[in-house]
């Protein structure tokens, strides 16, 4: 079976006429790994030098946050970290395609999207340090909480999009939701249910799959025998594959899909073809299951180097620009290190807070018992030393 940019082969039934929209196995690309700007007929991108420089800055700063987080985990300051190394372009490109009223539903690796939505990186550190399970207000940045159970958030995004429909916020000046997930998640029932719901309700939601080739140790062939973007085809909406290491292409395809969703054209599945350069998390050891040669090949497609090469070869940025971005990254790195070390633990009684919205006699009683138990130690100590309690 061959489905390509020209359409489906004659053997493939196409009752919905999606073949032409089903995309190509060759990822959509606007910037080659060598930094050469190329055009795509369906995705013209009118972008200024300033905007490209801003994307470069995003990419560098996001990578720095990631770098510092891994170091902090190694020093015992974070419990765990899920690195986005290699996926910066997919996240920054798609993240910068969102409007302020669009709503993003991330997994636990979307640090680049969080950055684009304006969330303080320290909120992410709180989660990975074990200070909270998230702890930000999703409405403050239209960025939902990190979801750790794989794929569950795709249904939340779809339901949210159904709410957009009921609010009459589809059409000109409309809103849309975007659900982030990985290649492993495409095997989850929830993701497939989200595809069905979004399709039959024509919900304004974009499914953004970062295919980083690995679900911890399991390669893509454990999840799918067809290219992931083609899954959309069976559900009745368009799917496409984009070079996930190309920030310009990710920006262009996400913009177009989000706009289509906002205007009432329904969902799109975007498969951002990328690579998880690091471990699944800091507890993982990828040398047990994948070859170094694969990593080396992907290094040549680095999402940041190609933007830098483009800025230099097209003379869109001077040396002092790159130096300024590096200096800003150093400052950001220092800030997140310092803030992480200064981050206080929550009070032990914090576990009793925010369990219920309404008064709950059981929780209240347990909080009281626990507080009394804690106080009993203080009293004993105070008794021994003759000092007043804390």
């Amino acid at each position: 079976m061959a489905v390509n940019a020209q359409g489906a082969s004659a053997a493939v039934p196409d009752p919905l006429g999606l073949a032409g929209r089903a995309g190509s196995a060759e990822p959509i690309q606007l910037l080659t790994p060598e930094g050469e700007r190329v055009e795509h007929p369906d995705y013209p991108l009118d972008i200024s030098a300033e905007e490209i420089r801003a994307l470069y800055r995003d990419l560098v700063l996001v990578r720095r946050i990631d770098f510092e987080a891994i170091a902090l985990q190694r020093q015992g300051e974070l419990g765990i970290w899920a690195s986005l190394l290699g996926q910066e372009a997919a996240q920054v490109g798609s993240g910068r395609a969102l409007g302020p009223r669009d709503m993003a539903f991330p997994t636990y690796r979307e640090h680049g999207v969080a950055w684009c939505r304006g969330l303080d990186p320290m909120k992410l550190f709180e989660l990975f340090r074990g200070v909270s399970h998230g702890g930000w207000d999703p409405r403050a940045h239209n960025f939902h909480l990190y979801t750790i159970v794989i794929g569950s958030q795709t249904l939340h995004a779809t339901g949210y999009a159904m709410g957009i429909q009921r609010d009459g916020a589809v059409g000109e000046d409309g809103e849309a939701a975007i659900a982030y997930f990985g290649d492993g998640a495409t095997s989850q029932g929830d993701v497939n249910e989200a595809f069905i719901w979004a399709s039959v309700t024509n919900a304004p939601v974009v499914f953004f799959c970062q295919n980083n080739q690995w679900a911890i140790s399991e390669p893509l062939e454990r999840q799918s025998r067809v290219p992931l973007y083609q899954r959309a085809y069976g559900f009745g909406f368009p799917g496409l594959r984009v070079d996930g290491n190309d920030v310009l292409a990710c920006l262009a395809v996400t913009r177009k899909a989000m706009q289509a969703a906002r205007e009432g054209q329904g969902p799109t599945l975007i498969e951002a073809f990328t690579y998880r350069m690091g471990a699944h998390t800091t507890t993982d050891d990828p040398t047990r299951y994948r070859l170094a040669a694969e990593l080396e090949a992907w290094k040549l497609k680095d999402p940041i180097e190609r933007v830098k090469a483009h800025l230099i070869r097209s003379e869109l940025a001077e040396k002092d620009f790159f130096e300024a971005v590096d200096a800003e990254a150093d400052q950001l790195g220092a800030r997140v290190r310092r803030s992480c070390l200064e981050m206080p633990d929550p009070e032990p009684t914090a576990m009793f807070e925010n369990v219920y919205a309404e008064p709950n006699a059981l929780i209240d009683a347990e909080r009281e018992q626990f507080a009394a138990y804690l106080d009993s130690f203080v009293t004993e100590e105070a008794g021994m030393t003759g000092e007043a309690g804390r």
């Binding site: 569950s152 795709t154 249904l155 957009i164 219920y356 919205a357 006699a361």
Partner: protein, 327 residues
């Protein structure tokens, strides 16, 4: 006062909630034109439209997961799970997402989602249509779990559940759907018993009998039968299973000195175990006998031709009461 079946009382309660708050939605399998397999949502789609009474695709995780998304957008979805045994595909969405989102967001997110589950046996159904999974949800912090036992409570409690800013698992005793009783549909919620309170059905002095959902009627009948034998049963309809109204339970047991917990769900790890532990801890010096449980057995729900032997009935409740006097 109007005479309504329990099913109709729920229908009227849902209607009232939808009339008073345009954000209330109903979603589930066959809830639209068909009105639900038990007709609880009968006529609501016709009156409120397809955007508010949503026939969903046939996938329970999808129903609850999209309801969470709608709640994040400001809606108050009421999900119908068609039968108790079909709720398990939605378990992650209920237990890991719905129940925990408030804590995860440090209180910035409320998910006022109600999940209605017809529960219990006694209707001669095939497998997966007669289960009582309430303990699984009562064990899950972040959820409120309630069970209605009669039409009047059904009418009030469904409205209270929809108004709650916490997620509520709402159990409906399916074999009582056709029970009729007087329901005050004119009265407001202000004077109603709060959602987290138990209700004393019959006052008594000898034994406290705790029941909920389908066992409420059985235990009320047991009280009448016991009275003929000179025993005075205090039957309490728990109504709220999470949180439990322990104040009402303890006050009664301290007076009677005996306690029997009755539920259809399997005895092992059930609500009765939780209640027995708490009563023992808090009423130890008042107890004349150990807290006894009259429940379903620790087996999968049996085929319907023998379900009457699995389900606690009048005689088994009375037998349980008798046994507390053996001490």
């Amino acid at each position: 006062m109007t005479t309504l079946t329990l099913s109709r009382a729920l229908n009227e309660g849902l209607r009232k909630a939808m009339e008073s708050d345009p954000k209330v939605l109903i979603m589930g399998e066959d809830v639209g034109k068909l009105g639900g397999v038990f007709r609880v949502t009968d006529g609501l789609q016709k009156d409120f439209g397809e955007a508010r009474v949503v026939d969903t695709p046939l996938a329970e995780s999808g129903i609850v997961g999209t309801a969470i998304g709608l709640a994040l957008r400001g809606y108050r979805p009421v999900c119908e799970i068609q039968f108790d045994g079909f709720v398990y595909p939605a378990f992650d969405q209920i237990v890991s997402q719905l129940a925990k989102m408030r804590l995860r967001s440090l209180g910035t997110v409320s998910l006022p989602v109600v999940i209605r589950i017809p529960c219990g046996g006694g209707i001669g159904a095939v497998e997966h249509h007669s289960e009582s999974p309430e303990a699984l949800f009562a064990h899950t912090p972040g959820l409120r779990v309630v069970a209605c036992g009669d039409p009047a409570d059904a009418y009030v409690m469904i409205q209270q559940s929809i108004r709650s800013d916490d997620p509520v698992i709402f159990f409906e005793p399916k074999r009582r759907y056709w029970d009729k009783a007087e329901v005050d549909t004119a009265g407001g919620l202000a004077s109603a018993v709060p959602l987290d309170r138990a209700r004393t059905l019959t006052s008594g002095t000898d034994v406290t009998v705790l029941a909920y959902g389908p066992m409420v009627r059985t235990c009320a009948q047991a009280a009448v039968a016991a009275a003929e034998e000179g025993r005075s049963l205090e039957v309490i309809d728990l109504r709220s299973l999470a949180p439990l109204d322990t104040g009402a339970i303890f006050a009664s047991v301290r007076r009677t000195g005996r306690c029997v917990v009755v539920h259809e769900a399997a005895i092992t790890g059930g609500l009765g175990a939780e209640i027995a532990a708490r009563v023992t801890e808090e009423c130890f010096y008042h107890l004349q006998a150990p807290v006894l449980r009259v429940c379903g057995y620790s087996t999968p729900y049996p085929p319907s031709r023998i379900e009457e032997h699995y389900l606690p009935d009048l005689d088994r409740v009375l037998d349980g009461v008798d046994r507390t006097f053996a001490y």
